[in-house]
């Protein structure tokens, strides 16, 4: 096997040094009744070339562009990724290094993550961003656990317009705790019913997604004022980080903690992971933040450098009293995000975000003209809900036969929205594609 370098001579020499006869003597400490007798029942080894064929075959059994046209978002977005990002990220100095516990040898990763923390904080309008979390859903769950630690209150209110999977993950994280979750309904506008905040009582946090699961842009400022009035924190989440290239940041609107998904920033969809949990907060909550942080410091000659810092919040020091159990995070994805943010720049990200919005508006209007209904009037970013007389299902089916995946059916998530679909349009869709889709909806 080409990954195993030992020759017979190597093995013999090493056994001689150790003073044993054969390798299996090393397993003498394992009692015989703990040993596996027989072989693992696994398929036999493949050569590199056989593996290529096998994997090509598996990957070939997937519906991806350009053969298929996908208008699916819902937490995973189709954005262009510059060749530079894949190339730089593939540098094995980044790819094959470990967590920078020995900072002098990993200044590259550390400066890169420090730059990510900075640009992430700027994007979200917050003062501190962590080195990364697993994904948007777990970042939200951690943000909410953080809120109950900070406020010492036991109830958390989640908007029902938060991604259903995110709410499921929050429920999983909260199930073994004494904390209580309640859901705030959404209105006919597609926005969360903020009037429910006042009456809830004893809230540690109010969590809103913006743009929300239906693509609608929530009134975070109003939500923040109402949350703060009852002594709760506003926790903002998001699935589409690109939106903040165009929209006001959640921090500037009053969010106290932000936890969401950065996949749109240069990370391939990859069937849903790995992606990038982005977690940020106001500086006063720094000691309650879970996960790694990179900080600037100086070396013994006074030269600037970077280290992992504030480890006393973390499990390897604090064990059961840590702010989270997280250890390995999604650093390499954070590096992809900072490379992408740097490639876009302020000029580029604003234009790219505007293009996403405008293309989605174009399709929205075209579908409306084709006789479809856009049920939620609130402004949206690059996703929106559509239905049609008698439901959009027939249109969706018809389009699927033409290898066009026209959105996600919402019925399984919201029974009252049966026949409604969530469509997403990004910069990857050309006008002709959008015209073709709308035309099909008409027929």
């Amino acid at each position: 096997m080409r990954y195993l370098p030992h020759t017979e001579e190597d093995i013999a020499a090493m056994l001689g040094v150790i003073g044993i006869e054969e390798i299996d003597d090393l397993f003498k400490a394992i009692p015989p009744d703990c040993r596996l007798h027989g072989d693992l029942r696994l398929p036999p080894a493949l050569t590199e070339w056989e593996l290529d064929d096998h994997m090509d075959c598996l990957a070939g059994a997937m519906a991806v562009s350009p053969e298929y046209r996908l208008y699916l978002g819902a937490g995973s977005y189709d954005h262009r990724i510059p060749a530079t990002v894949a190339s730089l990220l593939g540098r094995s100095e980044f790819l094959t290094s470990y967590t920078p516990y020995q900072p002098e040898m990993l200044q590259g990763t550390l400066q890169g993550i420090y730059e990510y923390q900075t640009l992430a904080a700027r994007l979200l309008g917050m003062e501190v961003a962590t080195a990364s979390h697993y994904d948007g859903a777990t970042a939200l769950a951690e943000a909410l656990l953080m809120a109950v630690r900070i406020t010492k209150k036991k109830r958390v209110a989640l908007s029902r317009a938060i991604h259903p999977h995110y709410r499921q993950v929050v429920r999983t994280y909260f199930a073994p705790t004494v904390y209580e979750l309640l859901e705030i309904p959404f209105l006919d506008t597609g926005l969360t019913d903020l009037s429910r905040i006042e009456g809830a009582g004893g809230l540690a946090a109010v969590a809103l997604q913006s743009p929300n699961f239906f693509g609608c842009i929530e009134d975070l400022r109003n939500a923040g004022e109402r949350a703060h009035a009852v002594g709760a924190l506003l926790v903002a989440t998001f699935t589409e980080a690109l939106a903040y290239g165009l929209l006001k940041s959640p921090g500037s609107l009053g969010a106290d903690i932000v936890g969401g998904e950065g996949q749109s920033l240069g990370i391939p969809r990859s069937f849903g992971g790995p992606a990038l949990g982005m977690l940020a907060s106001r500086k006063r909550y720094l000691r309650s933040l879970p996960g790694r942080l990179v900080g600037r410091t100086k070396d013994r000659d006074g030269k600037e450098g970077f280290v992992l810092t504030l480890a006393t919040r973390e499990q390897h020091i604090r064990r059961e009293k840590a702010t989270s159990n997280i250890c390995t995070n999604n650093s390499l994805c954070a590096l992809a995000a900072v490379m992408t943010m740097a490639s876009l720049g302020r000029t580029g990200i604003r234009r790219l975000a505007a293009l996403n919005h405008d293309k989605a508006e174009y399709l929205k209007n075209a579908l409306r003209e084709a006789g479809c209904t856009i049920p939620f009037p609130a402004p949206t970013f690059n996703e929106f809900v559509v239905t049609a007389p008698g439901g959009f299902d027939a249109v969706h089916r018809r389009l699927l036969e033409k290898k066009i995946v026209a959105g996600l059916p919402l019925g399984p998530y919201y029974p009252e929205l049966a026949g409604h679909f969530l469509l997403c349009v990004t910069e990857t869709a050309g006008r002709e594609d959008l015209d073709a889709l709308a035309k099909e909806a008409l027929s």
């Binding site: 540098r91 100095e93 470990y98 400066q111 420090y114 730059e115 859903a137 006001k248 720049g345 990857t428």
Partner: protein
């Protein structure tokens, strides 16, 4: 080659991103606008985040320079104990980047995503077989989330039996993630001291295990590199009092095809795909921490689960006892592809041989460094060995000093100050992919450093001197946090 690996090349300085660029530059090929502008209400929009504007070449040069300040397992041996920094095969990167995988949307209808689902079903089967257990979930995003999944399953199990328990037994050699994961489920960790041989004695467990204890979390082989020889008896004691046995599989690289944890009393086991199954660690992640369980516990696994009917795969949430969803979608699929590629490349014999050679390499280093450094427990180890700085303390030299000096010799240091049960621990895990020659060079460097510790200890205290920066002041970083520019 004569002389040490470590040398000083030309190291370039590179400013922070926002200290360069000019407004109006862009390193991204923006698609042409082919639709009319449709502005949002001004109240909703901002001026765009304060990112620097850079050209493509500036971005490339910036991150290329940064990369040269890094050391990866492609650069050289990375003997971090309990981290299993083995070679990360390049073919795995090719497979994960295949368009059918990399561009796949996680909510594709099942009939349009059969390739990914079949791969996941295959990997679940393979990992369950290696673990000696029945069913597996691929959702956990990292080892620590695998532990959380396991603790949630234990929590759901006890709740289902009508009486929740309050404590979990955790050996003193455990990773910090173990108590932190138990605490997330409201369990108070009860430390279990290891005995004079570095393992857990049944009578210790017996004295601690009661009807209020949910189970035990046990790493086997443990972080001292020893097999927990009493595991069957320990499992029997825990099971007898109605508890469950959680196996932390962080050190599974020692025993693939040698021991099946499910056959020796483990009920739940997580595996670190970024350790044992060769997926790269990426400077801190992403990893993946799949969890395998017994037949009885399968009903608690997270949803959605991959199900098969007549050769067609689908995802199902129809498991009413499930602990729920752990991540937004199906786990770190890109990492799963790499692990699947690795298992297919190795085959059953290759995996077993990898474990055998991992143990051979660790014992070779143990033998060669014995007498150079103080060996915490003088007996054969599995995949890693633990030394300490005891014999250097007279000169006032610490494990940290030796670790930093290793950098000057061109090696990544081992894990230090862990496990906590060994004072000044130096924990070495070479892995199976290192050659005898590389191990010899590493050992020689350590010998030279121990000599220096006696003859010119200042060299160690001042180390490193050949990296981009000299020793960094970590205390100052924590005292006055500067976390964003």
């Amino acid at each position: 080659m004569n002389g040490p690996l470590g040398t000083s090349g030309l190291i370039l300085n590179e400013p922070l991103l926002w200290e360069q660029g000019q407004k109006g530059r862009c390193g991204f090929s923006l698609p042409e606008r082919d639709v009319p502008e449709s502005p949002l209400p001004e109240a909703l929009t901002g001026d765009g985040p304060a990112f620097p504007d850079l050209s493509e070449a500036e971005v490339v040069r910036h991150f290329t320079r940064l990369s040269t300040w890094n050391y990866g397992v492609d650069t050289g041996i990375y003997p971090l104990g309990s981290c299993t920094m083995k070679y990360n095969p390049k073919t795995n990167e090719r497979q994960a980047a295949l368009r059918g995988f990399a561009a796949a949307h996680p909510l594709l209808p099942p009939r349009l995503s059969q390739g990914a689902l079949r791969l996941m079903a295959g990997l679940e089967r393979d990992l369950a077989e290696i673990a000696g257990l029945t069913a597996a979930t691929l959702q956990p995003a990292a080892g620590a989330q695998g532990e959380l999944a396991g603790m949630l399953i234990i929590h759901a199990y006890h709740r289902g039996r009508g009486k929740q328990r309050t404590k979990v037994l955790i050996p003193d050699t455990a990773h910090g993630t173990n108590p932190a994961s138990a605490a997330l489920c409201g369990y108070a960790p009860v430390p279990v001291p290891s005995d004079g041989r570095g393992i857990i004695a049944p009578k210790t467990v017996s004295a601690l295990m009661d009807d209020d204890t949910a189970g035990i979390m046990i790493t086997n082989p443990n972080t001292l590199g020893f097999f927990e020889e009493n595991i069957r008896e320990i499992a029997r004691i825990v099971h007898e009092r109605g508890g469950l046995v959680y196996g932390d599989g962080a050190n599974m690289n020692a025993v693939m095809g040698v021991v099946k944890p499910g056959e020796i009393g483990i009920d739940i086991l997580h595996l670190n795909l970024h350790k044992t199954f060769s997926s790269p660690h990426g400077g801190g992640g992403p990893g993946a921490g799949p969890v395998a369980v017994t037949k009885d516990l399968a009903r608690f696994l997270p949803v959605p689960r991959v199900v098969e009917t007549d050769g067609m795969y689908a995802l199902s949430e129809d498991f009413p006892d499930s602990v729920g969803r752990l991540v937004a979608f199906h786990g770190h699929f890109g990492v799963l592809v790499r692990a699947y590629s690795y298992i297919r490349s190795m085959g059953p014999d290759g995996l077993r041989q990898a474990s055998r050679l991992a143990c051979l390499n660790a014992n070779y280093v143990r033998e060669k460094l014995k007498g150079v450094l103080h060996l915490a427990y003088d007996r054969p180890c599995m995949h890693e060995c633990v030394f300490s700085d005891r014999d250097q303390q007279a000169e006032g030299i610490t494990a940290l000093d030796m670790a930093k000096r290793l950098m000057d010799y061109g090696f990544h240091p081992p894990t230090i100050y862990f496990p906590l049960v060994v004072r000044g621990a130096i924990m070495i895990e070479p892995t199976e992919t290192e050659t005898k020659e590389e191990l010899d060079r590493f050992v020689e460097a350590f010998r030279a450093i121990v000599r220096e510790a006696k003859e010119s200890p200042q060299l160690l205290r001042e180390a490193p001197v050949r990296c981009k920066v000299k020793r960094l002041d970590e205390a100052a970083a924590a005292r006055n946090p500067r976390l964003a520019g």
